[in-house]
């Protein structure tokens, strides 16, 4: 997936900076002539995420799986350099007038690395695999739920019957959690397929030494399916790199130190302090690739007191000084958001005017809502009860800078008489607390390509728990108007109509103070300057290395 969803100004500046750095570093050539990529060498990549328990991203389906699987699996669709959804392994599609029949056309002459042909039967086997309960798919399964039937018309044509029109289908096809694997590989046991999924990508899984690294080697038969969508359309053959050693270094200081010492060439999950320090270094470059889907935001549980009162929700939002906290804790690496959607989503809608820090307004709203008394500790009181809200924090989901941010918000809310109690929890306990409704505030990331994430986050259906107890609508928005707009948007066949419906929904939830947007889902990478040709990412913002090469 040689594509990028870079459209924001900041990443563009990074591209420019890397281009400048690249040209100025080129020994022997003039400053204006770009260097000729060199083939060979093994890239050592260090991921800060937990090691996946299965390399097949259909199983479960989380971000660490997508990061590594993007190197050896490819998707039917992708995002091109302008952020447009374009065919990748597919060559196009026809959608029937009622929107329930989708005819997928597939590129011919593509093979999986085991020699199995990529054809309609293979796509069918993959969608079946995602939907099969035996697979235990979570993310991929959610995205393919509307697929009801599949018919192989000929090797290059597959007809999908949908239970309802799905405007998000092609966005779903760009996600690595719905990537294509060899049907022969899928027929193996889950244990075997998890250890080494077989794809069409530029690299192949060679070996997985658990708890240490995944070894990837170059796929020498690789051809870029859609060169026009990539940064270098002239490079259509195998990757420059001979292989990738994909390591897992969970501790962020160690990870950064490994990059500095040259033990690794690239790291992900770079923390604000490391990024700030790297800015001072000539040997390290920064790649900022915000994740698609939702922005990072604090959701306010509107289903119970005190946030069942919109005035109290607004009072909380007005009482916390987010900008000051973000500035001091993220060293300028995170830009403030005022939208439910990520800045990479073309249909994102922002309203900065709703989120200014305004303790006077907070005080007025709280008085109006009846929280007029104060207790000995200075907190507001109503009917003998303190204005206290609970914020469970996942240590897996919130990086240390974000945890500190919550502490600062806690401190500024206190000045307005709102007590915020926080609790640090491991992932299982955190999801447990959410499932039990033991929260008034929560920050839960959600990555998905396209604005359909709004349906997942704000449709009343999402207040009903899944079998695991999980529900995505943490703000507990239950609004018939919002539901109707989200459903219309899902079946809209016109992009402008879809955009306007989604804008309405976003305006509604922002004005209802169901959420406090913070910043994009942070996704920072640092790499050594000798690693060139970096910058392309998949639609889910995972970096790809087909055009990457190592300079001496």
């Amino acid at each position: 997936m040689q594509n990028s969803r870079w459209r924001a100004a900041a990443p563009a500046a990074v591209v420019l900076a890397s281009a400048l750095a690249l040209s100025s570093c080129s020994g022997g050539t003039t400053d204006t002539v770009p260097e000729e990529p060199v083939s060979g060498g093994t890239l050592v990549y260090a991921s800060g995420d937990a090691e996946p328990t299965c390399l097949d991203p259909h199983v479960g389906g989380n971000y660490p799986q997508a990061l590594v699987a993007s190197q050896f699996l490819e998707t039917l669709y992708t995002k091109d350099q302008d952020g447009q959804i374009v065919p990748w392994l597919a060559s196009g599609a026809d959608v029937s007038d009622d929107g329930t029949t989708v005819t997928l056309h597939l590129r011919e002459g593509i093979s999986f690395s085991d020699g199995t042909a990529f054809d309609a039967a293979a796509v069918k086997a993959n969608i079946e695999h995602v939907l099969d309960p035996e697979t235990g798919s979570s993310t991929g399964y959610l995205a393919m739920q509307k697929v009801e039937s599949m018919e192989v018309i000929d090797p290059a044509t597959l007809e999908l019957g949908l239970s309802a029109p799905d405007a998000a289908l092609f966005e779903s096809f760009t996600q690595t959690w719905n990537a294509m694997m060899s049907p022969a590989g899928l027929e193996r046991s889950q244990e075997e397929n998890c250890a080494a999924p077989i794809g069409t990508g530029p690299f192949v899984v060679e070996d997985w030494a658990r708890q240490e690294s995944v070894s990837l080697t170059r796929n020498d038969d690789y051809t870029v399916p859609n060169p026009e969508a990539t940064a270098d359309p002239s490079h259509t053959g195998p990757a420059y790199l001979e292989g990738i050693e994909w390591r897992f270094i969970p501790e962020s200081a160690t990870r950064y130190s490994a990059l500095q010492s040259g033990t690794v060439d690239m790291i992900d999950n770079a923390q604000p302090d490391s990024i700030a320090s790297a800015e001072q270094s000539d040997a390290i470059e920064h790649l900022d690739a915000p994740r698609p889907g939702a922005s990072n935001r604090i959701e306010l549980n509107s289903s119970k007191a005190p946030f069942d009162d919109a005035r109290v929700r607004e009072a909380f939002v007005r009482s916390v000084d987010v900008d000051a906290a973000v500035d001091s804790l993220f060293f300028g690496t995170a830009e403030r958001s005022y939208s439910p959607l990520s800045s990479v989503e073309p249909m994102g809608y922002s309203d900065e005017s709703l989120f200014g820090y305004d303790p006077d307004e907070a005080a007025r709203l709280l008085d109006e809502a009846g929280w007029t008394e104060r207790d000995a500790a200075g907190y507001r009181v109503k009917d003998g009860e303190r204005l206290s809200v609970h914020l469970p924090i996942s240590t897996n989901q919130s990086v240390p800078a974000e945890q500190s941010l919550f502490e600062q918000l806690q401190a500024t809310a206190k000045e307005s008489g709102i007590e915020v109690t926080t609790e640090l929890l491991d992932l299982g306990s955190w999801y447990g607390a959410l499932g039990e409704h033991e929260y008034d505030l929560v920050s839960a990331p959600y990555t998905k390509v396209g604005p359909d994430v709004l349906r997942i986050l704000f449709h009343s259906d999402s207040t009903e728990p899944a079998p695991s107890g999980y529900f995505a609508n943490h703000a507990m928005v239950r609004d018939e108007g919002i539901d109707a707009a989200l459903e219309d948007a899902s079946s809209a066949d016109d992009e402008a109509e879809r955009a306007s419906l989604y804008a309405d929904v976003q305006a509604e939830v922002l004005e209802g103070y169901y959420l406090l947007p913070l910043y994009d889902q942070q996704n920072h990478f640092l790499h050594s300057t000798s690693l060139r040709g970096i910058g392309e990412t998949t639609a889910v913002a995972t970096p790809t290395f087909h055009n990457a090469w190592l300079a001496d």
Binding site: A50, Q211, S257, S468
Partner: protein, 332 residues
């Protein structure tokens, strides 16, 4: 006969420990929030469908009543079957045996280094002569030991990385294939243990050197070095040996931190991930293997203790009559 009885007691005790550990893990992991079945279908917060959940529950027997699950687990354990990991989808025995050598190597090296350091400091302070030098050496040794014993692995490891990897660039900050990659993890694990061992050793060495048998040896004209090496050391080593079980426990809990910090594969990291995901068979497997190692080390420490201190094998009457165990041990 005596040996047989000793063996049987040890064996029974060991089995009891293993049973108790398996039971505690079984209960403990169900007391924390989170449904173990989620580990099978993508981890906490999974949004897999109801059929996927039902299927996973049935496949791993999680739809049975708890008491039946417990019984099945014990029956499987008795047959030596550790089950299949929920998250990794591979047999637990395979996952554990893959990670065990890495952790054992780390623990053994750290244990060896800790002994070496502890003995060196104890000997150095004991051999420092002259009233002033000995007082200074004693204070320095004791201060170092208390500091080393008190620092948390995480802090120590981070500081070592900062100094030796980031600033000086002498050693790789993460584990690598070369022996250099082992230095920082081993040192991080060894130093706190060395501090603790050093304290107990130095104290018993001092006690031994002040006892009548040491005086007698000196009176026989032995040099101070000879007294320390031939008579004192055995005394100094004894508490260290009997603390081996405890030391192993500290090494294993330290390995969880050190393996994560230095990105080394091993049981510690496996355990961390298994606990996060509520992967019951994998948690049980790792804890049982650690417990088994503990039982074996305790038994071995018992044997070694008897070799070093022959009094332990004989009656208490002769033990009291034989204060100089070095002499009793028969030196040439």
């Amino acid at each position: 006969m005596k040996i047989l009885r000793w063996l049987l007691t040890r064996l029974a005790g060991g089995l009891f420990v293993l049973w108790a550990v398996a039971t505690l893990v079984f209960i403990g992991i169900r007391l924390v929030p989170g449904d173990p079945v989620e580990a099978i279908v993508g981890g906490p917060g999974s949004q897999a469908g109801p059929e996927a959940f039902a299927l996973a529950r049935a496949e791993y027997g999680l739809d049975e009543p708890l008491i039946v699950q417990y019984g099945l687990m014990l029956a499987n354990l008795v047959r030596g079957d550790l089950g299949t990991s929920y998250s990794l989808k591979v047999p637990v025995a395979e996952a554990v045996s893959e990670q065990l050598p890495g952790t054992l190597a780390l623990a053994l090296l750290a244990w060896g280094l800790a002994w070496l350091l502890a003995l060196s400091v104890a000997l150095f302070t004991a051999l420092a002569t002259g009233p002033r030098l000995s007082r200074v050496a004693d204070a320095a040794g004791s201060g170092l030991e208390i500091f080393a014993a008190a620092v948390p692995h995480f802090w120590l490891g981070s500081v070592l990385v900062l100094v030796f990897a980031t600033s000086l660039g002498w050693l790789p900050p993460v584990a690598t294939d070369s022996p250099a990659g082992l230095v920082l993890p081993v040192a991080t694990l060894a130093l706190p243990l060395a501090g603790f061992l050093g304290q107990v050793m130095r104290e018993s060495l001092a006690t031994a050197l002040a006892s009548p048998f040491a005086l007698a040896a000196r009176a026989r004209g032995e040099s101070e070095t000879g007294v320390v090496l031939r008579h004192g050391l055995r005394h100094a080593a004894l508490p260290g040996i009997s603390l081996s079980g405890w030391a192993l426990g500290s090494l294993i809990s330290g390995a969880v931190v050190v393996e994560a910090l230095f990105a080394r594969g091993g049981l510690g990291r496996t355990l961390l991930s298994a606990v996060t995901l509520r992967d019951i068979p994998l948690v049980t497997g790792v804890v049982l293997v650690s417990a088994l190692t503990y039982v074996v080390v305790m038994a071995a420490a018992d044997v070694v203790e008897r070799l070093v201190d022959p009094r332990l094998g004989t009656t208490t009457a002769t033990r009291a009559a034989q204060p100089d165990l070095a002499a009793g041990g028969g030196r040439p």
